[in-house]
């Protein structure tokens, strides 16, 4: 079984948009003289491109082994940064989330979370679930770990949303060091987290 094609395409495009928006932030923040969290934006670019390729076949870019190496390196980098900034609780929480994000992606690449191998979609069809002749998609290894990650990702999305402060009129004012649309980074993070959870769930068949 697999998800409707239009849904996977839409999710893939969403990830490409997140990656593109993060690239735009990196470029424009310099031009506009606004502060931005480079680590988050660079991570979102990488995750956006990688996750798009995980969900939709047309968004395939680098080989899985290369992406695995990239996210292992990312996890190590953020783990070292956590060690170095241990006393700063805010930075620590953010870096911990980045490390966890890299770890989830490493799992996804190693557990074979990938675009469907079925030609077309089984959506709207009888698939004889649980019986001989069932239309099977390639499933993942270690699904229990995947399910634990899905639960963790959902609750992380909720916690991130809870920490987003509502817009206030005074937020519109400010000097040159004002952060560039910080809430949009949180929104990107939530979108990424939900797409990663979706990608894992679509392969538990």
């Amino acid at each position: 079984m697999n998800a409707p094609t239009w849904l996977t395409d839409l999710v893939g495009m969403l990830m490409v948009f997140v990656a593109g928006y993060s690239v735009w932030r990196l470029v424009i923040s310099r031009a506009w003289g606004r502060a931005t969290d480079y680590e988050s934006d660079i991570l979102h670019v990488a995750v956006g491109i990688a996750a798009a390729g995980i969900v939709a076949g047309w968004a395939h870019t680098l080989p899985r082994s290369v992406w695995t190496a990239v996210f292992i390196a990312g996890a190590v980098y953020f783990a070292v940064r956590i060690y170095l900034t241990w006393s700063d609780r805010t930075a620590r929480a953010r870096l911990l989330a980045h490390t966890a994000c890299c770890a989830v992606l490493v799992y996804m690449f190693l557990a074979n979370v990938a675009p469907t191998t079925i030609h077309g979609s089984t959506a709207g069809m009888y698939t004889m679930a649980g019986m001989d002749g069932m239309i099977l998609d390639q499933t993942i290894t270690y699904p229990t770990i995947g399910l634990i990650f899905v639960v963790g990702l959902c609750f992380y999305a909720v916690a991130t949303l809870n920490n987003i402060a509502p817009l206030k009129p005074e937020d519109a004012e400010g000097g040159s060091t004002l952060m560039l649309a910080p809430r949009s980074v949180d929104v990107c993070r939530i979108v990424i987290v939900l797409v990663l959870a979706y990608a894992i769930l679509t392969k538990i068949v």
Partner: protein, 327 residues
Amino acid sequence: MTRSAALTDRSGQIPVSPDRPAAPPSPARRRLQLVLAGLWLLDGMLKLQPYMFTKNFAPMTLGEAGDGAPFWLVDPLDWAKRIVSDHPVGTMVLFALVEIAIGMAIAYRPTARLGLLACLCWVPFLWFFAEGLGGMTTSAAGPLGGAPGASILYGLLAVLLWPTRRSGPGVTSEAVRFVGTRAARIVWVALWGLLAVLSLLPANREPNAVSDVISANTDGAPKGYAWLLNHAASWAEGRGAEISITLAVLLALVAVSVLLPSRRAVRGGIVLAIVLATLLWVFAEGFGMPFMGMATDPDTGPLLAVIAIAFWPSVPAEVSVQEGAAA
């Protein structure tokens, strides 16, 4: 006696005194709301699994809700099943989006009330058409089978955790803060008492009733978990009556625990409730059976545990202030 004090005595309602400034939002209450939001989000995400979009979903999952149900329930369930079966993609995407939206609305502080209100609107629909009233109308309804249904527990939590700044000595737990002491106690006794009564139904006391429920969860389960379930099922074989009666007694103890005057006894009852909810979730509900990509929700276990935590007696404000001063 003032009017508000009289109201407290009669109904257990927590009065809102105009003289006293509103208390800051309770962090414990917000954490429980976030758990509810997380569970809704998880529910919505589970509904985006490939199996939900196939024509098998409606007859195999929604069809089960009508097994043994009375005629007045079977007809609307068949109607709902037909609609989902004819339009699996449209209906399931809609279901998923509604539930994801509810979870996100509760999680975002400015829309938390709206999210809880949406939850209350969505729950009756889900409970009736998707869960067939949680199987409560069948002769085999019981806590092992997921009664009274996950949806109704979501609704119950939405009411108990409604945002409020009521405070004072009458607030003995988060469950009490909005609905008041008496209503909260009625909810607790009715919920756990109902589960105790359902445990004693003849169908649940049959020799293999418990072992059959446990065995049904082994399909697709990871090896270690399947081994645990198989051992539990073989141990429970032929002991359906003993296990059901023991479970009923324990559930009845939980039900009456909140009426006891001792705070320690109340806490004991709540711990027992959490343990029972965990055991039900692990052995009877198979964590909601997510291992084959067919789970629509995590089932009642986590929700029963969250309800129990909402009743956990809080330390009265006066006591915590005194303890702080002494330290």
